[in-house]
């Protein structure tokens, strides 16, 4: 036991030279970042444990109890099909977070790959990627998503694909900027000079340096993905009923909004809470980012 402890304190790995507390201390001390992370963790728990948390089935209709006012059995009342609104909201967290997660994974992996390629390879590869990026950025993201859903039909996969395509160029732009910032640094040149392979430089230097700014983009794109999914579902082009999503709960509530405003309003508050959490995290991560990196990657323009 003692030997283990001494060995871990004496043998210092150069990568771990900065102790974890030092690297994460500014993040832990950032109230917005912590608040955002806290809200998000609660939402993830709600989504994961939805089957146990929801008091009723989210899809079971009861025509004897349509548009019931809030009561002990139905804390937020029921919708026009007699479905429990609270249970639908709890299950709706699943769809929103699934979409956000899938979009982040997809747009992050493709976008950072393309961005790194553009920045690292240069030449005509960089030019082509940049032109395609610029053109894709000319499309309003929501419109692009709408068109893809129009061509593919509405489903969870269509939404994920659509929002990801809209976000790949945004990730790629940041990744390219990061690579261009790091590439001319002396330690990269030195690595080249002592014969370190390109792949090793990428894994050991480029990716670790690129991770923080890319994570900032990821949180912002997750927030936008949730808003886009809600918008598409609200228009009836998203996840199809009876699967509950916050977007289609708002749309269901719209028909009776004057008499029963609680349905649409509560679903909107759920969306806002999630997006606020992600934006708080994005803002916080950006604040705690290395200022030089923040400036050079143009992250403040997100």
């Amino acid at each position: 036991m003692t030997t283990l402890m001494t060995s871990s304190t004496t043998k210092v790995d150069p990568d771990a030279a900065m102790p974890a507390t030092g690297r994460f201390a500014p993040m832990l001390a950032h109230p917005g970042l912590m608040a955002g992370a806290g809200i998000l963790i609660i939402l993830v728990l709600v989504a994961v444990f939805a089957p146990w948390l929801a008091p009723h089935s989210p899809t079971k209709t009861d025509l004897m109890a349509t548009l019931a006012p809030p009561s002990l059995t139905f804390p937020l009342g029921t919708d026009q099909f007699g479905r429990d609104v609270l249970s639908r909201l709890i299950w709706g967290a699943r769809v929103s977070l699934q979409v956000a997660l899938a979009v982040v994974v997809l747009s992050l992996s493709i976008g950072s790959l393309l961005g790194a390629l553009a920045g690292y390879a240069g030449g005509w590869i960089e030019r082509i990627i940049t032109i395609v990026n610029d053109v894709l950025l000319a499309f309003p993201g929501f419109l692009l998503a709408l068109a893809i859903v129009a061509a593919r039909g509405s489903s969870l996969q269509s939404i994920v694909l659509a929002v990801s395509i809209a976000y790949v160029p945004r990730v790629a732009v940041v990744m390219r900027a990061v690579v261009l910032t790091i590439k001319p640094k002396p330690f990269i040149e030195a690595s080249h000079a002592i014969g370190v392979s390109n792949f090793r430089i990428l894994v050991k230097h480029i990716i670790p340096n690129a991770t923080p700014p890319v994570i900032v983009v990821a949180t912002v794109s997750a927030a936008t993905a949730i808003l886009a999914e809600a918008g598409l579902s609200f228009l009836g082009l998203g996840v199809q009923p009876p699967t509950p999503t916050w977007g289609n709960i708002i749309s269901d509530g719209q028909t009776s909004i004057v008499e029963h405003p609680l349905i649409s309003i509560s679903a909107g508050l759920c969306i806002a809470a999630t997006v606020i959490a992600l934006n708080l995290m994005g803002d916080g991560l950006r604040d705690t980012l290395d200022p030089q990196m923040r400036r050079q990657t143009g992250l403040k323009a997100l």
């Binding site: 499309f139 909004i257 403040k300 323009a301």
Partner: protein, 313 residues
């Protein structure tokens, strides 16, 4: 300046060509057959084949692309599959409604967002800054269609100040404006939140520059630093912010048109999507993306006029 204009124009043409290409391949490269999709799963093979022939989908992709480019350049965006009318006519007739909504929304957004961002940056850390930033965070986090619904509920249904739905039309200009106010304000406020955040960070960036610190050390008054030195240099980044938010506000306008049941490009595209009118979707996409590119170019030229240093870059 002339060379700068020519360069901007060349870039404009290249981007529009890019937009056309992306629109074309986007609508085709996606897995799935649009003809089959339009007719539904129970369509006969013959019906699908004839629709494919009618839309030109049976030809090789590159020849389809050539036809598409030739027609688009001559202003022909194909015919709506549902009504048979030229898609260009349908898009053109809804364009003024969308333009009125987007432009008035952007106007409100700029008038609210830019001053709030500047004030917030110049009083960084005060309660005023915090209030503005928290409101802006709320503004970008609530879905815009939800904002619209709540605005209709509170201001139209409960307070009775505005008409609940539609765009007026027929009963005169005042009626049109009366119908426009609420959707424009909702759009404006949602975009203002975004503009305020970005303006604040653009302003803070400039206020952190060395020449501001030097001016302060030399005893130049705070108001002179803010209005003469900082604001002039922040003008281009602030304009860039407005340019960026334009595309975003077009996306929001689609949802607002639907919530308020207003005619417009968003409503047209929505109907086209629901009726699986794939030609009309393509036409709408092309027109909206081109509008974004045009506005971006306009802003680029504007940067060059404001800041001569940018012309030579």
């Amino acid at each position: 300046m002339a060379r700068y204009l020519v360069r901007s124009l060349v870039q404009l043409l290249l981007t529009v060509a890019g937009v056309m290409t992306v629109t074309f391949f986007l609508m085709r490269a996606i897995p799935g057959d649009p003809a089959l999709y339009m007719l539904g799963d129970y369509a006969t093979t013959d019906a699908v084949a004839s629709l494919r022939a009618k839309l030109g989908l049976d030809r090789p992709l590159l020849s389809q692309y050539a036809v598409f480019v030739r027609q688009t350049v001559s202003g022909d965006l194909g015919n709506s599959v549902v009504t048979g009318q030229p898609a260009m006519t349908e898009v053109a007739s809804s364009l003024p409604w969308s333009a009125a909504l987007t432009l008035s929304g952007m106007f409100i957004a700029i008038v609210i967002g830019v001053p709030l961002g500047i004030v917030s940056a110049s009083r960084q850390g005060t309660w005023l800054d915090r209030t503005v930033m928290v409101s802006a965070l709320l503004g970008i986090s609530f879905p815009v269609f939800w904002f619209g619904l709540v605005a209709i509920l509170v201001l139209s249904h409960w307070a009775g100040l505005f008409p609940t739905l539609g765009a007026g039309g027929g009963t005169g200009l005042w009626d049109d404006i009366h119908h426009l106010i609420l959707p424009a304000v909702v759009l404006g406020v949602s975009v203002a939140a975004y503009i305020a955040r970005l303006t604040r960070s653009a302003m803070l960036e400039v206020l952190g520059q060395d020449y501001i610190r030097v001016a302060r050390a030399m005893g130049v008054s705070e108001s002179r630093i803010l209005y003469r030195l900082a604001l002039r240099n922040a003008l281009v980044p602030i304009l860039a912010v407005i340019g960026v938010t334009f595309a975003w506000s077009l996306g929001n306008a689609i949802l607002i048109e639907v919530v308020f049941s207003r005619p417009g490009l968003g409503t047209t595209i929505m109907k086209a999507v629901l009726s699986r009118d794939y030609q009309l979707v393509q036409a709408g996409l092309l027109v909206l993306a081109t509008a974004v590119v045009l506005v971006n170019t306009l802003f680029n030229v504007l940067y060059g006029i404001i800041d001569p240093r940018l012309r030579t870059r």
